[in-house]
């Protein structure tokens, strides 16, 4: 009797444990997660990835490492994640360029390094509108002055950018088309050299993230004319947006978001979404983003998808309007 009861108990325990064991096997995460930043350490992607990884690590109680897979303006790292196993252990921290690169590949008729639909968007972390700055010794006091002058002298006013089809180039292109002006583009190999070019007076204008140019606006070297955001930049309340000035199509953000390879199982995605939501609420994360002067703009699910789609459409348009540079003359 006692034996049968013991046996029954064991059977019952086993029956109960079986699904538990199955769940334990699938429990996510059970090993370190890699967050790929497709740009070198010290850039926006890297500096956003680090605090995201740290906060996510706390929430998931699981180690998360940031790996910089750099090259070809981010295409190397993005291709790496696009083709890695969709098991939730390889994630991507991408910037706006994720929508630009495949479009540029199309323009050159080359096999794309990756396509946007190889990724599932999980969450938007930050979105910083670019602002238009000019050297303080230039005559333009407002965006209106600038645009009017550009209309009078098409192709004469120059601007530097972080590279052809780069984020800072696209921002200017969107403005050029919205305002019907033509500017002269001087590409440089990155946001740093683009800033150096305007500080040295070698170009007349630059679209840039606010944090980078604020110290130079404060020191009186540069003047901010307008912003590409939906709202004014908090640190520059006196600077209007292009939207206010009547150019609603000139909307552009340097944003950072977390993506997973397509095919990642829904339960894992759900868990990641939940964890990221908790992660951005961490005080340490907020403090870190504050120091970088990057506003947190958390969006996920349908909200992020909508933002991402609209942004991708604008950028694809922008790339197509630029077209192949050597074809135009």
């Amino acid at each position: 009797m006692r034996q049968t009861r013991a046996l029954a108990l064991i059977v019952l325990l086993l029956a109960l444990a079986a699904p538990l064991a199955a769940v334990a096997q699938e429990a996510y995460p059970s090993r370190p997660i890699t967050l790929v930043a497709p740009f070198p350490p010290g850039g926006v992607a890297d500096l956003t990835a680090r605090p995201v990884a740290a906060a996510l690590e706390k929430v998931l109680k699981n180690p998360i490492g940031v790996v910089n897979k750099t090259g070809a303006a981010g295409a190397v790292g993005m291709q790496f994640v696009a083709t890695s196993k969709p098991d939730g252990y390889t994630l991507l921290l991408a910037l706006s360029s994720i929508s630009i690169i495949p479009e540029a590949d199309k323009i050159f008729d080359r096999p794309p390094a990756f396509t946007v639909d190889q990724f599932v968007p999980i969450a938007l972390i930050s979105a910083d509108p670019t602002i238009l700055v000019v050297p303080a010794d230039k005559p333009w006091k407002t965006a209106k002055d600038f645009i009017e002058d550009a209309k009078k002298r098409p192709g004469q006013i120059s601007y530097s950018s972080s590279g052809i089809y780069g984020t800072l180039h696209m921002a200017m292109e969107l403005l050029s088309h919205a305002a019907g002006i033509k500017l002269r583009h001087i590409p440089t190999p990155g946001a740093g050299p683009a800033l150096t070019a305007i500080l040295g007076g070698h170009v007349d204008a630059l679209a840039s993230g606010p944090a980078v140019v604020l110290p130079h606006i404060k020191s009186g070297k540069l003047r901010a004319l307008a912003g590409w955001g939906d709202k004014r930049v908090a640190a520059l309340p006196g600077v209007p947006t292009f939207k206010e000035l009547g150019y609603p199509d000139a909307e552009f953000y340097i944003w950072a978001g977390v993506f997973a390879p397509k095919g990642t199982p829904e339960p894992i995605l759900a868990k990641l979404r939940e964890a990221l939501k908790a992660a951005v609420a961490e005080p340490d994360f907020k403090a870190a983003m504050d120091k970088l002067e990057t506003p947190i703009a958390f969006k996920q699910g349908a909200d992020f998808q909508k933002f991402f789609d609209a942004d991708a459409r604008r950028l694809a348009d922008g790339v197509r309007k630029v077209g192949r540079v050597e074809d135009k003359k």
């Binding site: 007076g201 110290p215 870190a288 540079v325």
Partner: protein, 509 residues
Amino acid sequence: MVETLGNLAAGFSVALSPPILFYAFVGCLIGTLVGVLPGVGPLAGISLLLPATFGLDATRAIVMLAGIYYGAMYGGSTTSILMRIPGEAASVMTCIDGYAMARKGRGGAALSIAAVGSYIAGTVSIVGLMLLAPPLAAFALRFGPPEYTALYVLGLLVLAYMSSGSMLKSLAMAALGLLLGMIGIDQMTGYFRYAYGVVELGDGLGVVPVAVGLFGIAEILATAGQPTPPTVIKPKLRELLPSRQEWREANWPIWRGTVLGFFIGILPGSAHIISSFVSYAVEKRVSRRPEEFGHGAVAGVAGPESANNSATSGAMVPMLALGVPSGPIPAVMLAAIMVHGVAPGPLLIQQQPALFWGFIASMYVGNVMLLILNLPLVGLFVNILRVPYPYLYPAILVFATLGVYAVNNSVVDVWIMLATGLLGWVLRKLDFETAPIVLGVVLAPMIELSLRQSLAMSDGHYAIFLQRPIAATLLAVGAVLVLLNLYTFARRGLDWRSRLALAEKGEEA
């Protein structure tokens, strides 16, 4: 001046506080290590350690990262001199005469000269950084695309002085380097050139895998192909220190390298690499016995090693005075202080005096530390030469592969290293020198971009190079150099290079 001294005193009180001293030491130690390991250079070292600095305050973080930067310049010479493998890209020139010295049993002397030269360059250039940062940074900003184009053209003229053998062969190698430098995304149009669908080739051939391949791997292959194994050098203790004669020969090159390196370092780009090339060329040009270069000339070690160290201080001028990066390494360092809420920019020196002056003072301290650290290590490192080749070379191959992989986490870089290694071996068999290839790979993308940027600025008018005073001056200097050479050429017919080449042919026959 009194104010500067007061500030510096305050800086030293920061720099000599135990925690800052500790982080400076850690930085210098790691820097020496990444410098010694083939392939891994300061950029990889700083990138790997950047996350670790997020927990420190801004001053400690930047002191440690700077320690890695200039520490790597000390360590980089070690493998170059002992094994002809550049520890990092700026030590390519040291491979040539440093290794030749080591084969003559003067390896210890070469290492000591490199360490002392680095110390002098490091210390003197900080004085420049401290006193001249704001005006120099303003001057550096006046260098736009046309000025760079002129400067790089001048740099190319310098190529002609780099070889010790035939000028024609040296120019052919430079041309090959320039062609290899064309691989990658066209910066002006976004077109992928010679990438054959390999996305990793979009950024072109990295200078690290090319340098390690052409020098290190080629050397290993060449040694393995010899019928008799090379004799293992057993350095004696009294041979470790340079002789008085060697010190005398090193003296002026160190000072010239220091000044050159500092001013080249201020200009954005891969300054520390270029400064070592220019210094080598200058030393060869001013030397009374240029034929010694390539065969163990002391000046060929002292000059470039001093220049690359002094360029690190130069690179910090625009970074600290204006908050603009002058290259990838200062860019990472800027990020490190931004993470701590310190906005880099023209107001940094006024708003963060403790950070700026503490940093400056810590560099003085760090250079002393590195000298104390590196001189005894000479005795240790030289013993690597005692290891028999069958053990030494496989180990080096492993380290070189790991180092090259670590820079970008890229297997493609490892393949580039192997391919250029094979190329380097073939070229050595055919008596070509490979250093001009490295300079070509470094310079090609820069020349191309700045030339096309200039033409974009001027809407296609070449006059832009003559309308801007700095660019016009640089081009005039280049023209004078060419004319002077034509003059000597016309008068003497043969210069020492052809005489040397003839002499060598005579020996072989």
